[in-house]
């Protein structure tokens, strides 16, 4: 009787353990040390891009010749007043939510150095 009970307990334990392992394998999300990957996210379906008019420019500009200015990266100069000129005006003088880059600095471009050069 005792042997039978032991066997049944062991079988039940094994079943529970394997079920948990299977569940981890299938879901595989959000748990430190779990097997899966957390990188993939679907977004809400069906948004569109609308019409990008002629002034709707999203890319960087070309690299400018203001390297010395760019090296001046002190945060003290990032006040709203300093950025007004560089920003070309913002909502009729409304202070932006962000700290604009100081006046006199042009927006930098992307890296221009080629790999291996």
């Amino acid at each position: 009787m005792s042997t039978l009970r032991s066997r049944m307990s062991a079988t039940a334990l094994a079943a529970v353990t394997l079920t948990m392992l299977f569940a981890c394998e299938v879901t595989g999300v959000g748990v430190e040390g779990s097997v899966g990957y957390d990188g993939g996210y679907y977004e809400p379906y069906g948004y569109d891009y609308g019409g990008w008019g002629g002034g709707y420019l999203v890319g960087p500009g070309r690299c400018c010749d203001h390297g010395d200015d760019h090296r001046d990266r002190g945060r003290d100069g990032h006040d709203a007043r300093g950025g007004q000129d560089a920003r070309g005006g913002h909502g009729g003088g409304r202070a932006p939510a962000y700290r604009p880059a100081p006046a006199g600095r042009s927006a930098p471009s992307i890296p221009g150095r080629s790999r291996g050069r």
Partner: protein, 297 residues
């Protein structure tokens, strides 16, 4: 007897779990590893798609990417390689029957401290979509949505961040955020990454901001285009191409769509927005080396 069985089961369980985890190893961002770090630089992108084989075929033919498959729990994951370097990942994730989901590329930004940036993000209105987690060789990462709901990820690479080179054709070259309030969103990302924010002149009534650090432009933040009827804030990543119009034609020939027709952008080259056959949007951008002038460094 029971104890022996119990121990055997636990040992088996442990071995199975470890073997499964060992199967899924994202490649290091840099080989050999470096100590280089660029806070806020966009260093990786992950595609989520319902058909990984179709995505491999499409992106392989379009950009010359090759793929290395690894297992990710119940799904498959493919590392996209260009010239032997890992440049992104693609994950197959089934879409439940009856549901419609938007396949998309997830943008990863470099951080030094995932937990610290996560705390700052949530304090400023972000939500955690996938909590921080470490991956062998890769580092620690966390997936978030910003205050407007645009999804992004942060990554503390254990092998350092990619050096600042001009991307070659077929590599990611640029990222743009499209949001309802570009200024407020720029402020949010500035808090996280310390970006310098430049507002650029615009004659279309939209706000266009350049986010930079290390004296390099890293991304732009833009008002959603006024003509868009279904407006969902999102990040959009651009691949460098030699000919935008030709590449857009190939996209159509391979079952994709053109969302924004090829057009000249700020740098003087052509850009376009296209979607792969599963609907995931991404950008195309021409960039000529000869036009890049003096380096600030």
């Amino acid at each position: 007897m029971l104890r022996r069985i119990l121990i055997s089961v636990l040992v088996f369980a442990g071995c199975t779990s470890m073997a499964g985890a060992a199967d899924f190893e994202l490649p290091a961002l840099n080989t050999p590893p470096s100590t280089e770090h660029h806070q806020g630089k966009i260093v990786w992108a992950d595609l989520v798609t319902p058909d990984l084989a179709a995505a491999e075929k499409f992106y392989g033919a379009l950009f010359g990417w090759t793929f290395h498959r690894i297992r990710a729990g119940s799904s498959d994951y493919a590392v996209a390689m260009l010239d032997g370097r890992p440049i992104g990942g693609m994950m197959e994730k089934p879409i439940p029957a009856g549901e419609r989901r938007q396949s998309a590329w997830l943008t990863f930004m470099a951080v030094g401290d995932v937990e610290g940036v996560k705390r700052a993000a949530t304090a400023h209105g972000a939500k955690v979509l996938a909590d921080s987690r470490s991956y062998p060789m890769r580092g620690r990462q966390c997936v978030l949505s910003d205050p407007e709901g645009a999804v992004f990820a942060i990554l503390a690479s254990s092998s350092g961040d990619s050096p600042d080179y001009l991307p070659v054709s077929g590599e990611w070259i640029w990222s743009s955020l499209h949001a309802k309030d570009a200024g407020a969103e720029a402020a949010f990302y500035q808090e996280l990454f310390g970006y310098d924010v430049f507002e650029l002149p615009s004659d279309d009534g939209s706000e266009h901001l350049i986010l930079s650090n290390d004296n390099y432009a890293r991304a732009s933040a833009n008002s959603l285009a006024s003509g868009s009827t279904r407006r969902h804030p999102h990040w959009l990543n651009f691949v460098r191409v030699d000919h935008t119009a030709e590449t857009a034609s190939k996209v159509i020939a391979m079952g994709g769509r053109v969302l924004v027709e090829p057009r000249v952008d700020r740098h003087g080259g052509m850009v376009a927005v296209v979607a792969d056959p599963a609907g995931a949007p991404f950008g195309l951008m021409e960039w000529t080396d000869s036009d890049t002038k003096v380096e600030p460094k």
